[in-house]
């Protein structure tokens, strides 16, 4: 882990202020989607029915717009916030190193089944981050998968996504 310890030092990638602005813009976009769809459904009053389906979300969208605009303006005015670091380069690389395999894992487990995918994921994670021998990682990965299998498929009878490997075993 020695190379990861100083991850909070190092060159800055983005400042808090920049991220504040980006997130506020994303929220504004979400608010716009909500408002447009609410208007499509009708955000007013219908006789007999009462408030239309878009009534409540419309005002939620409006509130989201207002609060995000305030955050946005504040971020623009707040020069000091530009000093604060959101994430440094080494730290971001580390986060990506966790995030990308996670995304791959999430996508893949729908195809090859959760048990096989989990075993591989745990093995590789331990090997890469923990510098474990790959065999040790694989052992633990398989052990976790088998434990999950027994607990869910056998004990609680909750089916989890399975792939060709489980089919081959007759499940």
């Amino acid at each position: 882990m020695s190379e990861h310890e100083n991850s909070s030092a190092g060159p800055r990638l983005v400042s808090n202020r920049t991220m504040d602005i980006v997130v506020a813009l994303v929220l504004l976009a979400v608010a716009a989607v909500v408002i447009v769809d609410s208007l499509r459904l009708g955000a007013g009053w219908r006789p007999i029915e009462g408030p239309a389906a878009g009534y409540f979300p419309f005002y939620i969208g409006l509130l989201l717009t207002i609060s995000s605009v305030v955050t946005l303006v504040r971020a623009f005015l707040d020069r000091a916030g530009g000093e604060k670091t959101f994430v440094t380069k080494p730290a971001f690389r580390l986060v990506l190193a966790v995030l990308v395999p996670l995304v791959v894992y999430i996508v893949v487990l729908g195809f090859i089944g959760i048990y096989v995918a989990s075993a591989i994921y745990i093995a590789l994670f331990m090997w890469y981050f923990g510098k474990y021998p790959i065999l040790r990682g694989a052992t633990i990965g398989v052990a976790v998968s088998v434990a999950l299998f027994l607990m869910f498929e056998v004990w609680f009878l909750v089916p989890l996504p399975k792939g060709p490997f489980e089919e081959f075993l007759g499940y």
Binding site: N6, V23, V34, A91, L94, V95, V98, G110, I114, G130
Partner: protein, 493 residues
């Protein structure tokens, strides 16, 4: 008393012990907390009778509350956000070789806090429920409004970020089939969005994945201290504790108040720590290993965590994210939380309350005897635990609905959780809005139908007016505070 009979059957007692053990483990592990621990294990309990299931889940919650203290004191890593304040004095005590004293004080004061809160629930819950039976849609909406307003008023940090986070939750909650008109909202032709966003997916992603991403970034260097608890040290500490009764009492009050109004355990622990520092004779010593600095936050956190269940069972409004997850469980089991629960499901309610008493006693015994065991868990390197937690999160997300879509959403919420955390957008309002969104909307629409669109229904009678007025005061509390402080500085006194 019938409640104890429900709890005291071997199966429920066993589940209680399993729940507490699991809870402490969840509390000790970074990245897993009460809310997502309960969320992940929720699907497993669907095969059990509801009373047993809620007993096990609430015991996980107690366990997690206890577990957070172990890591804060021994390793200076708060396992849970509410145990951050415990590290201030707990870890220095451990470094001075007083870990056993700090742990005993933490566990005992958590127990005291919880006990006071449970007693409060026992006596107050039936009254609140009886009172709430008079509630109509406008009253319910007013209470929900009060809940969300108190987040804005009591929250630390930018009220606009709180509001944005809350609105995002409401917006996500409104996705899917509109229950009143049957129209599709914001689904954009996708079949997966028909049923809307599951708040369990959100909880697992926001708190679980987000937490792990944050922990990975900071790089984990464990600098732990050894701990062993023997009975002698426990007894010695217990002798000392009564002299801090004032701190305990104050912390209980803060905790109960913050738990019932959804301030939650985390602000309660900080507030209690701050007040203890101000009132203590040895306030200057705080931060250097003062036992009062452990007692205050732990008592408040546990009192808040427990009393958060009071509004959940009586009004159907959860006081904390974990209570929100439990509420989601109740809905899945077909139990409608709220005042009627006390009439229709007496066994369930009193079983739950009885399990709070027994669960906390069992919890205290377990944590006092098993500290070395739990500390050993922490010695397992993070790089081995992190992927296992990710896998458990994925399993948890999938089992909610047997849908891959939920697993993908979990990933997305993980990223949102990570970014929101770093920019100090609070997450509890988002989760609570996601859970309560549909209920708040339908009570609002029913009220509007009753009054034919006249907003004045929200101050039409004394009851709804008072609740709504309180909500308004809380909503504008930051503004009021600002005005008062301006007025005070304007004329030098």
């Amino acid at each position: 008393m019938g409640g104890f009979a429900v709890v005291l059957n071997p199966f429920n007692l066993l589940l209680m012990l399993i729940g507490i053990l699991l809870g402490v483990i969840i509390g000790v592990l970074p990245g897993l907390g009460g809310a997502n621990g309960v969320a992940i294990l929720l699907p497993l309990t669907f095969t059990m009778p509801p009373t047993s299931a809620i007993i096990m889940l609430s015991c996980i919650y107690w366990g997690a509350l206890f577990g957070g203290a172990i890591t804060s004191i021994l390793f200076n890593i708060p396992g849970e956000p509410w145990s951050v304040a415990t590290t201030f004095d707990g870890h220095p005590m451990a470094k001075q070789g007083r870990a056993d004293e700090a742990l005993t004080a933490a566990f005992t004061s958590s127990f005291v806090g919880a006990l006071v809160a449970v007693i409060l629930i026992t006596f107050l819950a039936p009254l609140v429920a009886k009172f709430a039976l008079k509630f109509g849609p406008p009253e319910f909406f007013a209470v929900q409004f009060l809940t969300f307003a108190s987040f804005i008023g009591m929250g630390r940090g930018s009220p606009f970020k709180t509001l944005a986070s809350m609105c995002l939750g409401f917006a996500l909650a409104s996705v899917g089939l509109d229950t009143v008109t049957g129209q599709l909202r914001m689904t954009f032709g996708t079949a997966e969005l028909l049923t809307g966003f599951k708040f369990l997916t959100a909880v697992i992603g926001l708190f679980g994945i987000g937490e792990i991403l944050a922990s990975m970034e900071s790089g984990l260097a464990f600098a732990g201290t050894q701990a062993k608890l023997n009975m002698k040290a426990v007894l010695q500490t217990w002798k000392k504790l009564p002299q801090y009764w004032a701190t305990s009492l104050r912390s209980c009050l803060i905790g109960c108040w913050m738990g019932i109004t959804p301030g939650g355990a985390t602000p309660a622990s900080f507030m209690s720590y701050g007040l203890a520092k101000r009132f203590s004779k040895r306030g200057d010593n705080f931060g250097k290993g003062e036992i009062e600095g452990v007692i205050a936050p732990e008592t408040a956190a546990h009192a808040a965590g427990t009393s958060a269940l009071l509004p959940m069972i009586t009004l159907g409004i959860p006081g904390s994210p974990t209570a929100a997850v439990l509420l989601g469980g109740l809905l899945i089991w077909g139990l409608q939380p709220g005042p009627l629960l006390f009439i229709e499901q007496k066994d369930f309610v009193w079983g739950l309350i009885a399990s709070m008493y027994l669960g906390n006693i069992a919890g205290l015994v377990i944590v006092l005897t098993c500290v070395p065991l739990f500390a050993a868990i922490l010695r397992v390197p993070f790089s081995a635990i992190a992927p296992a937690i990710m896998v458990i999160c994925a399993v948890g997300a999938y089992t909610i609905n047997n849908a891959m879509f939920d697993v993908w959403m979990m990933g997305m919420f993980g990223i949102i959780g990570y970014v929101f955390n770093k920019l100090s957008y609070p997450l509890p309002p988002l989760v609570l809005a996601l859970v309560l969104g549909d209920m708040a909307e339908s009570s609002f629409r029913q009220s509007m139908l009753m009054s034919q669109g006249d907003l004045s229904i929200f101050w039409a009678n004394g009851l709804v007016g008072t609740i709504f007025g309180l909500g308004m005061i809380l909503l504008f509390w930051p503004v009021i505070q600002w005005v008062i402080s301006k007025a005070l500085t304007a004329k030098p006194a």
